[in-house]
Amino acid sequence: MTTLLSLQAVTGGYGDANILHAVSMTVSDREIVVIVGPNGAGKSTAMKAVFGLLNVRGGSIRFDGDDITGWVPNKIVQRGICYVPQVDNIFREMTIHENLEMGAFLRKGDLSAAFDRVYTLFPDLKERRKTPAGSLSGGQRQMVAMGRALMLDPKLLLLDEPTAGLSPKYMEQIFQICRDVRGTGVAILLVEQHAKQALEFADRGYVLAAGQNRHEGTGANLLADREVAEMFLGG
């Protein structure tokens, strides 16, 4: 498998203070990679670094052959990475269909193939496409948010805690959708609070703590690691 995204010793933060200290990770083609770790470990921050939302002061970020360190989000979107924030990730007053349309804003020409692709992944949304997104349940909103990000046909999807606040039933559904999305040729990097379930479902995982790499490996290996289990998974 070829490496799609690689962070090499990335150091940076929002203001002057550094939150990430020499964090490295890779995501390969069609791979699902999860970042777990305790609160304040810099999980979401690592993801935002990829999307150009952070002051990166050391290290580099490469994507699909380009050095994208320091690029603005707009350019990164066009290069093939889409990002779903944890909160405020939909246009509440716009319909589901309009949300998806805004996701494809940078795309010229006929959008029907992109709509078909997203509606095939999320049949529930197709039925309710004229409904304002703000009136949906939490799980359905997450689907709209993911659908919006998929409209540009990205190579890599970044998901910041997609299951936060969702019931176990919806969490399983979101994970299943992630597998379906990967099936269409998209790699996924996601941040998760539900470390155990996420590691069970992902191909590989990174455990961050205090802004540094702590452990990495396949989901099964990390789950079997005593130290990981004690530190982050509640024994």
Partner: protein
């Protein structure tokens, strides 16, 4: 006082002035929703639009309605220019800085109007227009034009906002600015479009105020408060709310004359504004809370 008298002397003039407020309030509500500040130069831009139309009316001898498109284009261009020269540089600063700057712009625009056209009252056409009577209702042609033009302009705007790509981009920017930027929507174009629309509607408000009353350099400033009351009454960011708010404020102002001396008309708008902010800050149609 019988019912017809109430309609003829209070409701009809209220709806006409309310339609004029609505045109201004729609622009205020769009600027509020997309740029997130109160634009205090809105009234004086309306004055500018009214006088631009006067220049066309006297220069080419055409009717004020025929001059309206030119006034709309001219004022829209001025609004975009003001944004580029002044407001754009304040975008990253606290919003109150831009609010105060817009007060300065208001004074500047008014000063320009006064230098070019003077401070005396002007009118598009001389003479008195008698109202026609339809089933006992006394209505002047210009009053019909005003209401129809307001409905037509706002209708076209609504179609633009709900059907076109850039109209939807404006709604997206109003709804969730961060996500709009993450989706690659060009913020600068959306801001420019907002000023074109707000400036154009301002001019229409000014021209119709001029058609129905007279042109004075303070005409726009004097309707700033009712226009803001209308925008907040309807719900910030709600175009249809601004129209509803405008009509309600217009009619309420006219009806207030029944119980208050007419000098206190403006206080009615202020009372509505205060009441809404205290009781229901989201407005009638659930707008944003600022």
């Amino acid at each position: 006082m019988d019912f017809l008298e109430l309609v003829n002397f209070y409701i009809i003039p209220g709806l006409v002035i309310g339609s004029i407020y609505a045109l201004g309030a729609v622009g205020i509500t769009l600027v509020f929703a997309i740029l997130r500040y109160a634009h205090l130069a809105h009234g004086d831009l309306a004055t500018l639009g009214a006088f631009l139309a006067l220049a066309v009316v006297t220069g080419f001898g055409i009717s004020p309605l025929a001059a309206l498109p030119i006034a709309i284009l001219g004022t829209a261009a001025v609004a975009v220019g003001i944004d580029k020269v002044f407001y754009e540089h304040l975008r990253e600063r606290p919003k109150i800085v831009t609010v105060m700057a817009s007060l300065g712009i208001a004074l500047m625009v008014r000063a320009v109007v006064q230098v070019i056209w003077g401070v005396d009252s002007e009118s598009y056409v001389k003479g008195i227009v008698r109202p026609d009577v339809y089933f006992g209702l006394r209505i002047r042609d210009r009053e019909i034009y005003t209401v129809i033009a307001m409905i037509a302009l706002v209708g076209v705007l609504q179609v633009f906002l709900t059907q076109s790509k850039w109209g939807k981009a404006m709604r997206a920017m109003s709804d969730n600015p961060n996500l709009a930027l993450l989706s690659g929507i060009d913020n600068k174009k959306v801001v420019m479009l907002t000023w074109i629309i707000a400036g154009g509607l301002c001019a229409a408000a000014g021209v119709f105020l001029g058609i129905n009353t007279e042109l004075k350099s303070m005409m726009g400033w004097n309707m700033l408060l009712p226009m803001f009351a209308a925008a907040i009454l309807g719900g910030v960011g709600r175009v249809e709310g601004a129209v509803l708010g405008g009509l309600i404020v217009g009619v309420a102002e006219e009806l207030s004359v029944l119980v208050l001396p007419s000098e206190y008309k403006a206080a009615t708008a202020f009372a509505i504004l205060l009441f809404m902010l205290l009781v229901r800050p989201t407005g009638l149609l659930r707008g944003k809370v600022l």
